[in-house]
Symmetry: C2
Subunit: 527 residues, 2 copies
């Protein structure tokens, strides 16, 4: 049965004809709305009184979750069901077990085989970090490692990098991480020009061991080591699939394994993120990060909608996207440390849910994943917020904020701290967007009714970051279940790859014949 | 007359019922389409054969430009017309003269008064840069300046920062720039923790001299200088309005002026960007940047649509947004150096054109500015491109690429260089999105007909960057003219500011009474 034929879908369609009016007088203050519409999971709070919903809507969303067995399906995923597939067609046919990469803290993990594999890698990593810390492993000129260069792209870059940026304040003194991802040679050049390679460990991340951009960048970096008379084999580690071309002790100090049941965009808490984060933060704080993620994974198993933050966030998104018709979602963290987190979520969400075919192999009848975008506030307030308040496109928003700063370096001006100003701005925006403002001057009218949610934490520490990551991973999975799509493959990136090789063919020959760009187009199109 | 009542609008509506089918067999190769649909301006090329248009569409867009006098209005702007206004209502009532900030190269500038003011500041800057270069000006411990910290937010941050990132490869040896913008105290803490202040010049940028975030960050940075026994007055320069609180020689080495006829988001080529860029790149290369921008300003005055790249880019955007109904635009540079350029354009475009009122004070009858977003490729290919190819949302794209790399550090693998791989990917994506692919497996179908344009340059150097900046500034202005809105005010950011102060009031008192976040909401809502 297609989701649009379900009774809870019809119920939501009916309610969407007259969504709650946030801009009417007293709407927000009414009946303790703000105090009631709060959900707490794994140390985070979600305030959602500024969404265009009321009790009936929540109840219909709960019916939707129940009718489509969303939580049961999530539990089946954690327990190892083969849900990365399209029925009746060639597909990846795999389990989906990123949750196992942090299921390290109980004697009864949800799926024991993958949890055991995760634990083995985790212990290998602990031993390696110990060896780095006590000087058992040194660079080729006997210096300890102070810098890591992470070479990866897509899921092997964006997620780990955004988490590193978020937790930089918690680094081990004197350690730093740089990233090379883009095939653009200037990207690597800039990093290499400003790094002391004799103290640098290089972490090369590719599941297949054959990712073109990563291999190209690895070759570039290896050459730079050789040019400086350094022995690359004493400076390189690999994160890759067992048996891949990169699983080779002749070339790497260590190989840490990733598994085919974890997709790139969900791999931040596997060795893909952990080797780098362990180097930067140390093993203890890495453990806190994984613990936070695991706590949120457990919270996502709660069948009660308003106690399950990932499910609630997912279904508020479905409400805005499918029933109120808003095509995008802005994720706006009021925290500079989270400046790359929207880019990671953009990847994780859009690669997962930018689909047009159901798991039954039929064309979807609904809109699937929205366009995800965002930048940190309050910077954004001085930029694109004009459109959020007065434009003709309505943009639902997820604000993320924290009550305390990371560094604790703060200054009081006009009786409030910078951190308080940050939080005040966050709260003010959600009210302004919801309530709007009447005015005689047409240019000063704010129509309001622009929905948002607030995700609030106490402080952006490793555990909180783990919870935040897992919150969004589970949200994306729940939305995929809601749209009946496979959130775990990425067939849409294949065609571009095929065509890129055709252009490359025409370029190699162009080195002799000097074809113009236009001619190259035509040559490729002829094929 | 509202734009939707114009005859060219109706003509375009009729054509939009059956837009050109890019996915039909041979559509792209047909009749030299790719070779014909190319526009060259100021050293950049725009390839637009992968848009859903044909000769008739272009002719209707030319009619639209003529009927609404778009080029004439642009020329009036450059010549000083007061176009930042809403007729009959209180409004800013100002000229719009960012083009004058680079109108330095002819004896007959389009608007002489503002061009003269620009030239005076430009010469002041030259003298200051000379003094820095020859050691006449030193820090409070007699050291030359190697680092600049730029303190600003919104237009005083995003544009200048994105240009600095783009042109970092051209820096004067040994000079570097850091940026502090967010009111988040961790933003400043991280920069201060890793900078040698004795060799640091601080550039504080605020037109009014009263921007809360900037003053807060300036106070924080000044305190850090004092804590290290350094005299801030020997390390700080200001970019501000003449007569503002920051125009004070007791506190600053120099004050450079900005003028009320240049809005923040259009100010990158005024002293707002030039003081920092001049420090980083030197006066000569700054001149190249301004020259490139000025060349594009002149190209935008050409009344022939297919010879005027800014106008063409603007009207292709109107076609996609208003007639084909696509709510967003992705700007995807295949250049790591441009990694912050989409964020700047997001600001410049959405703050300019996220409006609902015409310059006549009436409610708009059309969609105005789209949502702008983007990240550099090929990173994006490993991320959100899945949705671009197979999602249910159609996203028009502007790709930006260059034939040569900046650093020239490149490596040949499989007979092609990294830069060639970058360009091959760029071209391949535009073809894949347009042409699509049939397939038996429903999960491998690409429906195609997803429109894109390619903006190609030879190399991302200062002159090219200037042209690129001016291309987008003029594009945004042309779109604002098309929608009959005022692209130069920003009333939409006011309400949030008012509400933020109310929350801050409740927080100061909270320090005594300890109100929860929910209670603070209610207290603010009571007012």
């Amino acid at each position: 049965m297609d989701v649009i034929q379900s009774s809870s879908w019809s119920q939501l369609e009916a309610l969407a004809k007259k969504p709650f009016d946030l801009a009417s007088a007293g709407a927000l203050a009414d009946d303790g709305r703000i105090g009631k519409m709060v959900c707490t999971s794994a140390g985070l709070r979600l305030l959602y009184a500024t969404q265009r919903i009321e009790a009936q809507t929540l109840s219909a969303l709960q019916d939707f979750a129940s009718e489509h067995h969303l939580v049961e399906r999530y539990q089946e995923m954690r327990q190892g069901a083969v849900i990365n597939r399209i029925d009746g067609w060639e597909s990846e046919n795999r389990q989906v077990l990123h949750t196992s990469s942090r299921d390290l803290f109980s004697s009864h993990p949800a799926e024991p085989v993958s949890a055991k594999q995760a634990r083995i890698e985790y212990q290998k990593l602990q031993a390696f970090l110990d060896d780095l810390g006590n000087g058992t492993i040194l660079g080729s000129t006997e210096k300890p490692f102070t810098t890591m260069i992470n070479v990866g792209i897509g899921g092997s870059d964006l997620g780990p990098r955004s988490i590193y940026e978020a937790l930089k304040a918690y680094r081990i003194d004197g350690r730093t991480v740089r990233f090379i991802s883009n095939v653009d040679p200037d990207d690597a050049a800039e990093v290499l020009a400003s790094t002391d390679l004799s103290e640098t460990l290089v972490n090369v991340v590719s599941k297949s061991g054959t990712t073109l951009e990563t291999l190209t960048n690895e070759a570039l970096v290896r050459q730079a080591f050789k040019d400086q008379g350094l022995d690359p084999t004493k400076h390189f580690v690999a994160v890759t699939g067992a048996g891949s071309p990169m699983d080779n002790p002749d070339h790497y100090l260590r190989s840490f394994y990733m598994f085919d049941y974890i997709g790139g965009r969900y791999s931040s808490s596997s060795m893909v993120g952990c080797v780098m984060l362990g180097f930067a933060l140390g093993f203890e704080q890495l453990g806190e990060f994984l613990r936070g993620a695991h706590e949120m994974d457990k919270a996502a198993a709660n069948p009660v909608l308003d106690e399950n933050m990932p499910l609630l966030l997912a279904l508020l998104g479905v409400w805005n996207h499918n029933f109120l018709g808003y095509p995008t979602l802005a994720i706006l963290p009021y925290s500079q440390a989270l400046h790359r987190f929207p880019a990671h979520l953009q990847q994780c969400d859009m690669e997962s849910n930018g689909k047009s075919v159901t798991t039954a192999g039929t064309q979807v009848q609904t809109k699937t994943g929205p366009i995800i975008w965002g930048e940190p506030g309050t910077n954004g307030q001085h930029a694109f917020y004009q459109l959020l308040h007065q434009g003709t496109e309505i943009v639902p928003i997820e604000f993320i904020g924290f009550l305390c700063s990371q560094y604790g370096l703060d200054i009081t001006i006009d009786e409030t701290t910078s951190q308080q100003k940050l939080v005040a701005n966050l709260l003010a925006q959600s009210v302004a967007l919801a309530s709007g403002q009447a005015h005689e001057n047409p240019n000063k009218i704010f129509r309001g009714n622009r929905p948002s949610s607030l995700i609030l934490g106490n402080k952006l520490d490793p555990q909180t970051m783990g919870a935040l990551l897992a919150l969004y991973e589970a949200k994306i999975v729940f939305q995929g279940f809601s749209w009946q799509i496979n959130s775990f493959d990425q067939e849409g990136v294949q065609l571009g790859k095929v065509l890129a090789s055709r252009f490359l063919d025409s370029m190699s020959s162009r080195q002799k014949s000097g074809l113009s760009i236009e001619k190259q187009f035509l040559k490729v199109l002829e094929k």
